[in-house]
């Protein structure tokens, strides 16, 4: 809930004492709305006003940190239901689960595979965020051994999964002050787990089972016991239920009307293979703050992390690369010159296809405000004027004396105009799809004999 200036004004002392630096309380209230001043600039503000304004200024979904230091994972603090309304902010954290019945080698291999996974994509390093250690043995010693092994092997923050307070206490000790996420509290163990979480300053998963109303009520009770960092674990019966539970929790949290819902959420995806991946996709799209892959195959990682990267980009700010001339391979003055827009995905597709062709080339990237070729063309951002200007500005007539420019097939219609604007240049129409670039370069360019 966002308060208006007038609503804030009513909560102020209305003394017009000017001690805040403003002429009137109303003027101060307006500055508060614009977030240009802090409430504590008013020496006379009441506790009631502090409480109300504090609640209104807190994010609708709490930001919860797991782990410590550089690899700390932060989830929550989302503000919208649909990414186009603003953006999603704290990426769905991806956790890979191991259990304490695994042999040391099997556990080690799984952890190594997850922790070592790292791929660079669109200028970002894609990695697994968390390791979840599940207690299935019922024996605190085994759980401790598994937790210790994982810690020894990788620096990723942990999720400790056990309903058994004795095991959890032991596991938490083995985690040694690294603020693992404790999963989780239910109606039977709430007292002990809440005490453990508070003592360790660790976040706690609320997992009482039942409906999301039961879940919210239970989370509110945990908060009442002094647990601040809570993660909600709905227990859906199937895919449709999962979507309903996570959607309703997000909605209620954003409406701020339902106590106990303003927390991040966690989804456990049982099963490996394709089905597990499909469920994880649903979780990433629709409101899971953390997705735990119970039995992942390593080939899950790349598509899921790629999806997460896309869904969590800021839709108002398309990923852009810097305009300019890019040299791909050992391009020489006689190498082909292609042009495209500065939308990063367009750039990555085109450049990767040129690389695949193994024909060194120049790629002119023009500033089309980060739009793809077709979109930019439709919006008038990728037209003969823009391209001609870039060619001249980059001095390409001397850098590539053959003065041949390959334009994307989708904008073939502009080739005549472009030739008019670039006297002396020969405009060649390349393929529509970047996937066809290798064939084009091999067949058309090589045939030119340049």
């Amino acid at each position: 809930m966002k308060l208006t200036g007038l609503q804030i004004f009513k909560l102020l002392p209305n003394k017009n004492c000017k001690e805040c630096g403003f002429q009137t309380c109303l003027a101060f209230a307006m500055k508060l709305v614009a977030k240009q001043v802090r409430l504590d600039a008013c020496p006379y503000v009441s506790d009631e006003a502090k409480a109300v304004l504090g609640a209104a200024s807190a994010p609708p979904i709490r930001l919860v940190g797991i782990g410590t230091g550089e690899r700390e994972v932060k989830v929550g603090e989302e503000l919208v239901l649909f990414r186009h309304e603003k953006a999603f902010f704290h990426k769905t954290a991806i956790a890979v689960q191991v259990d304490d019945r695994l042999s040391g080698d099997a556990l080690g291999a799984r952890v190594r595979e997850a922790a070592d996974f790292s791929v660079e994509r669109a200028g970002e390093r894609l990695c697994i965020d968390l390791i979840a250690v599940k207690e299935l043995s019922g024996e605190p010693e085994r759980f401790v051994a598994a937790v210790a092994r994982v810690r020894e092997m990788c620096p990723l923050p942990l999720i400790l999964i056990s309903r058994n307070p004795a095991c959890m206490r032991a596991g938490l000790k083995a985690a040694g002050g690294t603020r693992p996420l404790l999963w989780g509290a239910d109606r039977d163990n709430a007292d002990e787990l809440a005490a453990l979480a508070k003592e360790a300053g660790a976040p706690l998963v609320a997992a009482p089972g039942g409906s999301i109303d039961d879940l919210a009520q239970f989370a509110a009770e945990l908060a009442g016991r002094g647990v601040d960092d809570i993660i909600l674990a709905p227990s859906p019966a199937g895919a449709a239920d999962r979507l309903a539970a996570f959607t309703l929790l997000r909605r209620r949290a954003l409406s701020r009307a339902a106590p106990g819902t303003g927390y991040p959420t966690i989804l456990s995806v049982p099963g490996g293979g394709y089905e597990g991946a499909a469920a994880a996709v649903g979780g990433i799209c629709k409101y899971a703050s953390i997705v735990v892959l119970e039995t992942p195959s390593p080939w899950h990682y790349l598509p899921l992390l790629t999806l997460r990267q896309g869904i969590y980009t800021d839709p108002q700010k398309p990923l852009q690369v810097n305009p300019g001339v890019y040299r791909i391979g050992e391009a020489k003055p006689e190498s082909p010159l292609l042009v495209t827009t500065n939308f990063s995905l367009t750039y990555y597709m085109v450049s990767s296809e040129i690389e695949a062709s193994e024909i060194p080339s120049w790629l002119l990237v023009v500033d089309a405000e980060g739009q793809s070729v077709l979109t930019a063309w439709a919006a008038g951002k990728f037209n003969p004027e823009v391209i001609a200007k870039a060619v001249v500005a980059q001095g390409l007539d001397t850098r590539v004396p053959h003065t041949r420019l390959i334009i994307p097939g989708y904008v073939a219609m502009m080739s005549g105009d472009l030739e008019d604007k670039l006297p002396g240049w020969n405009i060649m129409v390349g393929p529509q799809e970047s996937a066809d670039i290798p064939v084009y370069l091999k067949e058309v360019w090589t045939r030119l004999g340049t």
Partner: protein, 331 residues
């Protein structure tokens, strides 16, 4: 206690859909009682809520997957998706029969890519001949995808529309620069059209209006918002679909068409499905990576509102069908 320094707007849309607005129900295929020869027809759309929101609306029809059948040998297809079809590459008729008889396909998408001048340059007559034989021996409803914008598209699709008169096929695609011929053919011979626009809410609505200005019924139009594959613009398609769907549900009649996403063609051309394991060991098994790339793209689009998915790999299709079962509460 202080107010956050950044200008955070708690901006959110809480849907309060009364159920007054729904997506159009589009029926593909005519049975004999409807003037065609299909064994059954397929309905998509009709929902009055966001995708799979059974808790606040009704969703009468499940999303449907169409199996992509190329008219000529798809030499450019990635080997891992050609694999399951090795017996029929270049024999679209047997290919179509197999997916219908053995894989349970209920909808096929005949891709007339061979008519492209830069490919096999097949004539409209050749396309028609193939279409006639498929109509004769394959009983399911049909999507007919032309060779792509241009004169060839109009010639091929018009000839096919005439040859398939009364079958209520879905013709793909009408685009803003060139929609009249295809819409006229669909109107004259009793078909449906796909209205394709490049990932843009306003252009989408504009084309739908242009088509409706030709007095073509809105319930015979399907929106292609243009599909980006996973890692290649999927999130743009995803958000444009969500925006279109929200507008549709809030009462905009020019946005209430179901969606079609051409998933297969987008997914199977990207680097990630092609690069061999030796080159990128971390990416995992290439065969499985490709299938998963298609599944992930399709499932994300289902959550954004996809009603028709055109797909390639039988395993990916099977998994997405089961995912739809689950989302329709049947699994």
């Amino acid at each position: 206690m202080l107010l956050p320094a950044t200008d955070v707007i708690y901006y959110t849309t809480i849907m309060n859909n009364s159920g007054a607005s729904a997506i159009n129900t589009v029926r593909i295929g005519n049975t004999s009682s409807e003037g065609g020869t299909r064994a059954f027809s397929i309905e998509v759309g009709g929902g009055n809520c966001l995708p799979f929101h059974h808790f606040e609306g009704t969703i009468p029809h499940r999303p449907v997957i169409a199996w992509e059948i190329p008219d000529v040998r798809p030499d450019d297809w990635c080997d891992t998706v050609k694999g399951p079809y090795l017996d029929f590459l270049g024999d679209p008729l047997r290919w179509a029969r197999c997916v219908v008889d053995e894989k349970g396909a209920r909808l096929i998408c005949l891709d007339l890519r061979g008519a492209r001048p830069d490919r096999e340059n097949r004539s409209a007559a050749q396309s028609v001949e193939l279409l006639r034989s498929i109509l004769k021996s394959v009983p399911v409803p049909l999507i007919i995808r032309g060779p792509g914008p241009g004169e060839r598209q109009n010639g091929v699709l018009t000839a096919c529309a005439e040859a398939a008169q009364g079958e209520r096929c879905l013709l793909a695609s009408a685009v803003a620069e060139e929609y009249k011929t295809i819409v006229a053919a669909a109107a004259a011979y009793g078909h449906l059209v796909v209205a394709e626009t490049p990932i843009d809410v306003n252009l989408c609505k504009q084309l739908n209006i242009l088509i409706s200005d030709l007095h073509f019924p809105a319930d015979r139009v399907v929106i292609d918002p243009l599909t980006g594959g996973l890692g290649y613009g999927l999130e743009y398609t995803y958000s444009v679909m969500e925006r279109i769907r929200l507008q549709a549900l809030s009462g905009d009649g020019m946005m209430q068409m179901p969606f079609i996403n051409f998933v297969g063609p987008e997914v199977w051309k990207v680097k990630e499905v092609k690069v061999p394991e030796q080159k990128e060991p971390q990416w995992g098994s290439r065969a499985e990576r490709g299938v998963l790339w298609e599944i992930s793209t399709a499932v994300a689009l289902l959550h954004a509102g996809a009603d028709l998915l055109v797909m390639r790999h039988p395993e990916a299709i099977a998994v997405v069908e089961r995912t739809i079962d689950g989302l329709m509460k049947k699994g």
